[in-house]
Symmetry: C2
Subunit: 206 residues, 2 copies
């Protein structure tokens, strides 16, 4: 792309560093800013820099939080003996959105991925094991996405728990509620048959 | 969406004001920034604010330019008697990319759109008419998109030229080079038959 302005080129280059945003989209976004008042760009810029510089993570679950303990960890009504292990804040938001979970979370901050240079030490696995070792945790629920990286991470944590008395579980994989069987992929359908549950339980949860 | 952090919420809200970026995408982009070093966010922010505050437009064609006259207008080899009327810088870049045009441009900065509150006075139509009235322009090429707004804008400018001796033309609409006829839409195919050109000309341009 051949820009008539260095300022424009810089802005487009910076914007196109976001994942999934190419040069064309970046140009469209930047031109949108130019049609808005100047203070619009200023406030966008301030909010991003503010977030980046003042970002804070909950001491207990490592989720993004403005306070030392996040709302969920500080809530006395949440079950501290059950911990759901997730990748990032989006998973916490998704599970909270269901209203079905009353335990706490542990945010890993990613998945083990040698391809992307993410090893166990980049994630918050150590504090998780320490939390479990302290003896107050009864159950660990793995809720990572079922990819190679997700499975590797699950297994790595599982191995670290060797010798510790704790229940580990993983969220159920199966056909989405409301989905037609004929359109489901074979792996998911296969798992949902292998891991079938008593009919009575399905009545309870619906 | 229920965020655990006000800082994060602000950043996501600001990012989701871009056209085509919803809350989920905004969250994904913002979380990406958090995984990058702090100076990455700082330089993104600087480049956007810099562009917005220091933005300059070419005195002659109103394209975005860091100098008083843009490169194209300052180039003595470009034909000043032919002016291509376009909506914004993206169209200039697209036409320049073809390498087929040696005239100058006039960037309107948008199209007349009562729905979006854009009237003729918001665009650079007045300086265009003045430029034409000065007598040094031989041909005006309309290259706006062929939408209701584009056609309205073309027609408005055409009306303003009343009584001025000038050739006006519009870029050819037709089947894309390499396209199969059977997949072309009816309006385009119809126009390409009505506006057919001598076979000899098609040999020259390929």
């Amino acid at each position: 792309m051949d820009f008539s302005s260095k300022l424009l080129e810089n802005a487009v280059n910076e914007m196109s560093q976001f994942p999934g945003i190419g040069k064309r989209t970046a140009l469209r976004l930047v031109l949108h800013l130019l049609k808005q008042p100047e203070d619009h760009t200023q406030s966008l810029s301030n909010s991003l820099v503010n977030l980046r510089n003042k970002i804070n993570f909950c001491q207990n679950c490592h989720n993004i939080s403005d306070t030392t303990l996040c709302e969920i960890c500080a809530n006395p009504n949440r079950d501290r003996q059950v911990i759901c292990v997730v990748e990032d804040i989006r998973d916490v938001m998704a599970i909270e959105g269901t209203g079905q979970y009353r335990g706490q979370y542990h945010v890993l901050g990613g998945k083990i991925s040698p391809m992307e240079g993410v090893g166990p030490s980049e994630l918050t696995i150590k504090p998780l094991i320490e939390k479990v070792r302290s003896g107050n945790v009864k159950e660990l629920i793995f809720a990572l996405s079922s990819t190679l990286e997700g499975d590797t991470t699950n297994f790595y944590i599982f191995k670290q728990l060797d010798g510790i008395q704790i229940i580990t579980s993983t969220i159920a994989r199966g056909i989405s509620v409301g989905d037609e069987l004929e359109y489901a992929d074979e792996v998911t359908l296969g798992r949902s048959i292998l891991n079938r549950i008593p009919f009575e339980s399905s009545l309870k949860s619906s």
